[in-house]
């Protein structure tokens, strides 16, 4: 029977000590422990959030970096293209100019050659004419040394003129 009969003294002491235990532990143990746990959880939560935020930022930064790099690359390519074009244009222009110059020089040379030639020809003609005259004079001198032959020649010339 004693097993299931709660004793008065025991109830009194248990109530007293349990009440004190709840009070003392509640004030000096559970309150600081729970508060610290909460604090730590909050700080861990915040740290995780911050890390996530940092990761997001990093991603964004990386993305913008890449974008910037791409833009720079594009610009460089454009610049290079333009430079190449300019170079090509310059080359082309200079080539044209050079060929023009060359052809002009050639023309000039040709003209001067022609002139020289003409001058030479004229001089040659004059030389030939002079030479012919000299020759003719010599021949005539010889032919006309003998008077009979002079006669004969005059006759012949008359004949020739007659026929004309």
């Amino acid at each position: 029977m004693e097993l299931i009969t709660p004793g008065l003294g025991l109830i009194f002491w248990m109530t007293l000590s349990f009440f004190l235990l709840v009070y003392v532990l509640g004030k000096f143990a559970w309150k600081p422990i729970l508060q610290m746990l909460h604090e730590r959880e909050t700080s861990i939560h915040e740290a995780l959030n911050a890390a996530n935020q940092a990761r997001e930022d990093m991603k964004e930064l990386k993305f913008s970096n890449e974008q910037l790099l791409q833009e720079a690359k594009n610009e460089r390519d454009a610049l290079l293209n333009e430079a190449r074009k300019v170079r090509d244009k310059l080359l082309e222009e200079s080539r044209i100019k050079a060929s023009e110059e060359a052809s002009r020089i050639v023309e000039a040379a040709k003209a001067s050659i022609h002139n020289e030639k003409m001058a030479a020809m004229t001089e040659l003609k004059i030389q030939i004419a002079e030479n012919s005259l000299t020759l003719a004079r010599i021949i005539l001198q010889r032919e006309l040394e003998d008077p009979r032959k002079q006669e004969e020649y005059v006759q012949k010339l008359i004949k020739e003129v007659k026929f004309n």
Partner: protein, 386 residues
């Protein structure tokens, strides 16, 4: 650095615990030296009197032995060395006829088992109780007028475990303030999972995020008090072995705490549901208020069940273990060889029971706390808005 700190903390903790313990025990010894601390066995309270005593006349009485170990006692029987009983006497505090009487329980170690007219009953319906002794050493009729507020074995164990709980958890709280913002170490990391478990899986899930904080001190205290005393009760030697959580007065008080907290915190919705239970046909409430009566009985049965469950589980565990011990002696009385043979089986079963009891120690603490939290949750639940 950290391990060094926690180690030195552990040393300090153990050292201070041992010191307190040594002072306490030596103080007790000093106080009782003239009260025959070591009582010759044939002069002991249990040796002479009563047929129900376990050791009477050399015959082993298993039932009496088990009951002696399970119920409360006015002194703490520590060990039996040969014919000597090493017993720690505990203070007896009596209120009789408006007067307070205090003396040590070793005063009862005499032929009549009586002191100042009080008698420690050795048998009969009041066995183990202190009653008013008559002229010839017999209990007189007004036995109930003696109010016994003694520091019995159970009370002593309650005070001791309360002291240890305060020591453990206050030092744990100090560790939190010291290690602010750092990872837990030592005692903290051992007990923190349990605290978080009670907060998240018991309090928050049963009571709700908004209101659980108010009930945390009670829930944590009740859990650790039960768990700690369950484990202490499993230790077979002093200062363990007191059947604290298997004592109905102890579980009664804790159940009453739960009941009072539930009733104080019950909101309008809780009481309306009791008086006018929703979802029940009207003829169950009027003209005969059947449902309200059932509900009101329910208010009482909830803590009552809490009380019985813890008490019965722990006591049953103790009785089974003691039963296995008794088997050895019962068979040993028939023949020594048989006793040795049975002891092998008995010890195997005892080890199994102890392992089971370790599990039960946790489960019962958990169940008591969880059900208390559920009742608090019911009492503070807000009506659902449709």
């Amino acid at each position: 650095m950290t391990t060094n700190n926690s180690r030195s903390f552990l040393f300090r903790f153990l050292a201070s615990g041992l010191l307190v313990w040594a002072v306490f025990v030596t103080g007790l010894f000093a106080a009782v030296q003239d009260h025959t601390m070591l009582v010759p066995a044939n002069d002991s309270a249990f040796e002479q009197h009563g047929k129900s005593d376990s050791r009477s006349e050399g015959k082993f009485n298993a039932g009496a032995m088990i009951m002696e170990h399970v119920v409360d006692n006015h002194e703490w029987h520590v060990a039996e060395i040969g014919s000597l009983h090493l017993t720690i006497p505990l203070p007896v505090i009596l209120l009789y006829n408006g007067k307070l009487y205090t003396f040590l329980s070793s005063r009862f170690h005499n032929a009549a088992h009586s002191y100042l007219g009080f008698k420690l009953e050795q048998g009969g319906p009041h066995k183990g109780k202190i009653v008013r002794a008559g002229q010839y050493g017999h209990a007189v009729q007004d036995a109930h007028k003696v109010y016994d507020f003694s520091i019995t074995k159970t009370v002593f164990a309650i005070l001791l475990s309360s002291f240890l709980l305060v020591l453990i958890f206050v030092s744990m709280a100090r560790a939190y303030t010291r290690n602010r913002g750092k990872a837990p170490s030592g005692l903290q990391s051992l007990l923190e999972p349990l605290v978080i478990f009670i907060r998240d899986d018991i309090a928050k899930s049963s009571i709700g995020e908004k209101k659980y904080e108010k009930f945390m001190p009670f829930l944590l205290t009740v859990f650790f008090f039960i768990f700690f005393n369950n484990l202490f009760g499993l230790v077979p030697f002093f200062p363990g072995g007191a059947n604290v959580t298997g004592n109905i007065a102890v579980t009664l008080v804790m159940a009453v705490f739960t009941f009072v907290i539930t009733t104080i915190n019950g909101n309008k919705h809780y009481w309306i549901d009791i008086v006018n239970t929703p979802g029940v046909p009207w003829w169950l409430k009027f003209p005969v208020p059947l449902m309200p009566v059932v509900e009101i009985i329910g208010i009482i049965t909830k803590p009552f069940v809490l009380m019985i469950r813890l008490f019965a589980n722990i006591t049953a565990g103790h009785i089974i273990v003691l039963g296995f011990v008794s088997l050895i002696f019962i068979f040993g009385a028939i023949s020594a060889a048989l006793g040795i043979g049975v002891s092998v089986v008995s010890v195997a079963f005892m080890i199994f029971m102890y392992l089971l009891e370790l599990l039960v120690a946790f489960i019962q603490a958990y169940v008591f706390t969880l059900l208390s939290a559920l009742y608090f949750g019911l009492a503070t639940m807000e009506p659902e808005h449709h």
